[in-house]
Point group: C2
Chain length 346, copies 2
């Protein structure tokens, strides 16, 4: 006798409907609502209908927090990252998000402002203030490395990229092999050696740099000094202009595609042609690499998949697997037009 459906529009409250609201609206007990929600026990068709209708009408969504409390496990994971706008980062994050959602987890994101202790702690603290089932740390750079160190022992965690550690689960792309392969590719084209413009490394030396050196060593080629770039493509332009002044530079392997584009621009600004005068290759397979002219020969990293694998690893941790696992994949060379055999020496 209480719930006529006439009061169809409740004065939109500033708070979400609770399970009690639904129970009252449907004229059943709270556990009954819970039962239709979870399917834990049978509910008569009639009551189930009324409950479903009430849920619909009140736009009710169960509170994951309350569920987490009673079930003992949160359903949100956090991604710790220093960057969200760079192609590799954002694509990895998307991969994590997709995989997490399929598994019923939400994703929170915490941006680390810098690699210094205070910035890192602030970001990690901010992230850990919410109930978290686990954390994925994007360890593409020093800030990520620092962040990983600041995550408490007891928190399930997986690192993405970076040096293989063995003490923590890790999803990686085999940059070393890829760097070696693309350097080898340039060498096989006939270049005497390959110059290298690095991106800010997450450790002493990035995998791609290590691979580059390995290929050079194997080929007994001269190992030129590394040129340090930043994440900003504009730094590549400067490097390109520098390189244009040197006759001995015929092939350049850049730490990522943005830098490679910058280098090509700098080279072109100074009148050198790519690939006729200088071959340039990148790393990542940025969406614009194909559009760029000459189109960029590069290494395709499957960041989406990297993110997915990271989440799978994290789920193992969350499910109680204490042993760190590793997941690696081999990036593939994408041959386009920015690399060619060197011109015969004058």
């Amino acid at each position: 006798m209480s719930s006529d459906l006439t009061d169809s529009q409740p004065p939109s409250p500033r708070r979400p409907a609770s399970i009690a609201d639904v129970a009252q609206a449907a004229g059943v007990s709270v556990p009954t609502v819970s039962r239709v929600l979870t399917g834990a026990a049978k509910v008569s068709a009639g009551r189930r209908e009324r409950v479903l209708a009430a849920i619909e009408q009140l736009d009710y969504r169960p509170s994951e927090t309350a569920r987490a409390l009673v079930r003992g496990r949160p359903t949100t994971i956090a991604v710790l990252t220093s960057e969200t706008t760079i192609f590799g980062y954002s694509t990895t994050i998307r991969g994590i998000e997709l995989a997490a959602r399929e598994a019923g987890f939400g994703v929170a994101i915490a941006v680390i402002d810098g690699a210094d202790g205070e910035s890192v702690d602030r970001a990690v603290d901010a992230a850990l203030r919410q109930p978290l089932a686990g954390v994925v740390v994007l360890k593409f750079d020093p800030a990520g490395v620092a962040a990983l160190g600041a995550v408490p022992e007891w928190m399930p965690v997986v690192a993405v990229s970076g040096e293989l550690d063995g003490r923590v689960s890790q999803a990686t792309l085999d940059e070393t092999s890829a760097g070696r392969a693309i350097t080898r590719y340039l060498l096989d084209l006939g270049h005497a050696t390959v110059h290298h413009v690095s991106v800010p490394p997450s450790r002493e030396e990035d995998g791609r740099t290590i691979g580059w050196r390995a290929a050079l060593t194997e080929a007994r080629a001269l190992i030129p000094p590394i040129i340090s770039g930043t994440w900003d493509a504009r730094s590549g332009v400067l490097v390109g202009r520098q390189l244009a002044t040197r006759d001995d530079v015929t092939a350049v392997f850049c730490g990522n595609d943005e830098i490679a584009m910058g280098v090509m621009t700098g080279l072109a600004d100074a009148g050198r042609r790519v690939p006729q005068d200088v071959s340039v290759v990148g790393f990542d397979d940025h969406p614009l690499s194909e559009i760029w002219r000459p189109s960029l020969t590069t290494v395709a990293q499957d960041f989406d998949d990297l993110g997915r694998r990271a989440f799978v690893l994290l789920q193992h941790q969350i499910d109680g697997d204490r042993d760190p696992r590793a997941s690696s994949a081999l990036p593939a060379i994408v041959t386009r037009s920015s690399a060619a055999p060197p011109r015969p020496a004058a």
Copy 2:
């Protein structure tokens, strides 16, 4: 057969220590432990010491889940977006995150897979399962528009970009004025008219398209049919090749920089020079626009600031302000090298 030799630590309980365990170990009441944890009230030095010691000894960590449940005031906001990898989106998200963290809020991110009802509901459900203080919807596209409609009435919400609505708080960039200004710029350069390649609009017609038409109308210029592009720069290449076959096209205004780069590539592939034969301008000021050759004349949108403004608006809503507010800013033209006066007619 009971215990391994390695059982050096206190009998590691299968469950983490609770506040009750700490209270018991310290010989105080549960609220007292809570008080030293939160600092909500004074605790005598002696008891505080014992509590701290017990916490240390039991390796106790407060359950964020329980805290979240009891506090009621959520400290997380969610960002609903269909994209995380496109420059404008990811930069806006970063702006939101930074502003939110400064204010003590965490940021969850929910990706909308498509504009259809089911995808939208899934994303909104995923986001709303955790306690949320509010939601920011990135309404750059149809999926965002749909998502905004799926957010419950009672939830504080702000829309970013899109058509001005008045029924919801909204942070925007004045695309219409900007589109009009850059079209005007091309007209003033001497072009008879300006062709327009649009990006997928969030409504019938994007602000930049409206501005473009307005400028053309004001100048009594011919209004050519709109060419529809996608978010993929490669579609721009195709458009560019098409355009290259037409003698009447001397100026092209593209809906974003990636498309503009694609169009320039298509034009160049077909032997047309930019800006000598055709002027091309973009929208957004993508980081690579400056590196591109010829460097791209475009409209700089301050997405970071857009994100910040969105959060400020959301905080008003969260603080109880029921009235929708609007925050707008005017993007600025960045003059570079991809636009020039038309060649005198043959």
